[in-house]
C-alpha cells in the first residue's frame, strides 16, 4: 500500500521450540511514530530485529518500501539496513573510535560520503544532539546519555528513512533520560519515521501516533495514545499500565 514504509504480515518467529512472535501484523507509514510497549520477554526486541533482519528464519512477510526483506540477497539487505537505523539499549558505540569516528565510519566505508563530507555531517549531527564539543571524545569518557546521543547521531549519518529504537533509555541513569528523549522528540517533530520500544509512558503518550501493546508474542492491543491510556478495556493492557505508571 502506498505510504507504508514497513508492512509486517503474519510474522512468526521461533527460537527452537519457543514461539516468541505470533501472527504479528502491522504497518508503519511515512513519518509515523509507532511506540511498542509491553512486559519484558514479550517479543518487542525480537520484533524490531526482524525488521532489519538481524533475526533470520522467520515465517510471514516483512516488507520495507514494498520489498520483501526475507527475499533480499546479501547486497540488497545491506542497502536496506542502511535505510533502517537502529539504536540499542546498550548504545553499542565502537569503543576504539571517537564520537566523530563512530559517526563517519560507516558512510565513509560504504563510500556514501567522502571523508571530508562525512566529517562535516558528523559535526552537524553532533550539534543536533548537543554534543559537538565531544567530537574527539572516546565513548568510555562519555556518560550513558551522551553515548546514546552519539549512537543516534551515528544512525542519522546514514540518512535513514526509518529509525528503530530498542529501549534507548533503559540503561541510563534517570537524570540522563530527559536529554535522550529530547533528541528523539526533536526527530519526531522533524518528521522522522520511528518505531520505538520504550517504558517511558509520558513520552509515548506525547509522540506516538500509534501504540502497540505486545504481550507473550502477540500484539494484544493497539490504538492511539488516548485509546491505550484512557479507553481500552483490555485487561492485560490495563494491568501492564497500572504496573508501569505506578
Amino acid at each position: 500500500m502506498a505510504g507504508n514504509i514497513i508492512e509486517v504480515t503474519n510474522l512468526e518467529k521461533r527460537f527452537g521450540q519457543n514461539l516468541v512472535l505470533k501472527n504479528i501484523t502491522f504497518n508503519v507509514q511515512r513519518s509515523e511514530k509507532v511506540v511498542i510497549i509491553g512486559p519484558s520477554g514479550g517479543g518487542k526486541s525480537t520484533l524490531l530485529r526482524c525488521l532489519n533482519r538481524l533475526e533470520d528464519d522467520y515465517q510471514g512477510i516483512v516488507k520495507f518500501n514494498d520489498q520483501n526483506i526475507m527475499l533480499a540477497d546479501a547486497g540488497k539487505i545491506r542497502s536496506i539496513r542502511q535505510k533502517i537505523g537502529m539504536v540499542f539499549q546498550q548504545f553499542n558505540l565502537f569503543p576504539n573510535k571517537t564520537a566523530l569516528e563512530n559517526i563517519t565510519f560507516a558512510p565513509v566505508k560504504l563510500k556514501l560520503l567522502s571523508q571530508q563530507r562525512a566529517i562535516d555531517r558528523a559535526h552537524r549531527l553532533l550539534s543536533q544532539v548537543g554534543l559537538d564539543n565531544k567530537a574527539n571524545a572516546y565513548p568510555q569518557s562519555l556518560s550513558g546519555g551522551q553515548q546514546q546521543r552519539v549512537a543516534i547521531a551515528r544512525s542519522l549519518a546514514m540518512n535513514p528513512s526509518v529509525l528503530l529504537f530498542d529501549e534507548p533509555t533503559s540503561a541510563l541513569d534517570p537524570e540522563m533520560v530527559g536529554d535522550v528523549l529530547a533528541v528523539m522528540t526533536d526527530l519526531a517533530d522533524k518528521g522522522m519515521t520511528m518505531i520505538i520500544v520504550t517504558h517511558e509512558m509520558s513520552f509515548a503518550q506525547k509522540v506516538a501516533d500509534k501504540i502497540l501493546f505486545m504481550d507473550q508474542g502477540i500484539i494484544a492491543d493497539q490504538g492511539d495514545p488516548h485509546y491505550i491510556f484512557h479507553e481500552t478495556k483490555n485487561p492485560r493492557t490495563r494491568a501492564f499500565l497500572s504496573k508501569v505508571m505506578i
Binding site: 532489519n52 538481524l54 546479501a74 545491506r78 542497502s79 536496506i80 539496513r81 542502511q82 535505510k83 533502517i84 537505523g85 537502529m86 540499542f88 546498550q90 553499542n92 558505540l93 565502537f94 569503543p95 576504539n96 573510535k97 565510519f105 560507516a106 566505508k109 560504504l110 564539543n133 565531544k134 574527539n136 571524545a137 572516546y138 565513548p139 568510555q140 569518557s141 549512537a151 551515528r154 544512525s155 546514514m158
Partner: protein, 231 residues
C-alpha cells in the same frame, strides 16, 4: 669459559639468523592458519566446525617433535624441494620445518583468536550490521581490531613459545641455534658453555618479542581506555 666464541661466533650468528627466520615464517603461517581455522570453527556449517576441532585437538594432543618429523618425512615424499643451502641448512629441511612450526602454532592461534572474538560483545557486530556494513567489514574493521587488543598478551605468549619450540627442528637437521650449540659442544667436548650461549640467545629473542608486544599493547590500549582529558 666463553673464549671459544672468538672462533665459533659465526656459527652462532648463523644459527640465530636461522632461528629468527624459521620463527618468523612459523608465526606468519600460524596466523594465517589461525584465521582460517577460526573462521571454520565459527562457521554455521557443522562439517567446517568439525574439521577445525579435529585439527586443533590433534595438534594439541600430540608432541610437537613427532608432528615435525611426520611433516618432514611426509612432505619430502610428496614434494621435491631442492637441497639448496641457506644459513647453514638445506631448504629441503627448513621449508617443511617452518611449515610444521606454523601448523602447530595455527591450532593455538586459532583458539586465541576465538577467545578474542568471544570477548567482543555481540552488540558490536549488530551495530555494524545495522549500519549496512557487510559481515566481512564488520568482522575485520570493527570486531577484529578490538579482539586483537584483548588477545595481544596471549598472542605474545604463543609467539614466545614458538621461538623456543623452534629448537625441535634440530631433530630434522635444521641448523638453528640449538643445533649449532650442540655441534660446537661436540667439537669442544664440553656442552655447557655453548648451551649457555644458546640459552642467552633465546632469552634475548623472547625478551625482545615480549617488549614489542607490550609496546603494541600500550599503543592499542591506552588510546581509548584512558579517559579523554580534552573537551
Amino acid at each position: 669459559m666463553f673464549s671459544f666464541l672468538k672462533h665459533y661466533y659465526p656459527v652462532f650468528v648463523q644459527g640465530t639468523a636461522q632461528t629468527i627466520l624459521i620463527s618468523i615464517i612459523g608465526i606468519l603461517i600460524g596466523i594465517i592458519l589461525g584465521l582460517f581455522f577460526v573462521t571454520l570453527r565459527r562457521s554455521k556449517v557443522k562439517l567446517c566446525q568439525y574439521i577445525a576441532r579435529v585439527y586443533i585437538a590433534i595438534v594439541r594432543g600430540t608432541p610437537s617433535m613427532i608432528q615435525v618429523m611426520l611433516i618432514y618425512y611426509g612432505l619430502s615424499k610428496v614434494l621435491d624441494i631442492p637441497q639448496i643451502q641457506f644459513l647453514g641448512s638445506g631448504l629441503d629441511r627448513m621449508i617443511p620445518g617452518s611449515i610444521a612450526l606454523g601448523i602447530n602454532s595455527g591450532a593455538y592461534t586459532a583458539e586465541i583468536f576465538r577467545s578474542g572474538l568471544i570477548s567482543i560483545p555481540r552488540g558490536q557486530t549488530e551495530a555494524g550490521l545495522s549500519l549496512g556494513l557487510s559481515d566481512h567489514t564488520t568482522l575485520f574493521s570493527i570486531v577484529m581490531p578490538q579482539a586483537v587488543r584483548n588477545i595481544l598478551p596471549a598472542l605474545g605468549n604463543e609467539f614466545i613459545t614458538l621461538i623456543k619450540e623452534s629448537s625441535v627442528l634440530f631433530y630434522i637437521g635444521v641448523q638453528e641455534v640449538t643445533a649449532q650449540a650442540l655441534g660446537v659442544g661436540g667439537t669442544l667436548y664440553n656442552f655447557i658453555p655453548p648451551l649457555l650461549v644458546a640459552a642467552i640467545i633465546y632469552f634475548v629473542l623472547t625478551f625482545s618479542m615480549s617488549q614489542v608486544i607490550s609496546l603494541l599493547e600500550r599503543r592499542l590500549g591506552t588510546a581509548y581506555l584512558k579517559v579523554n582529558q580534552e573537551e
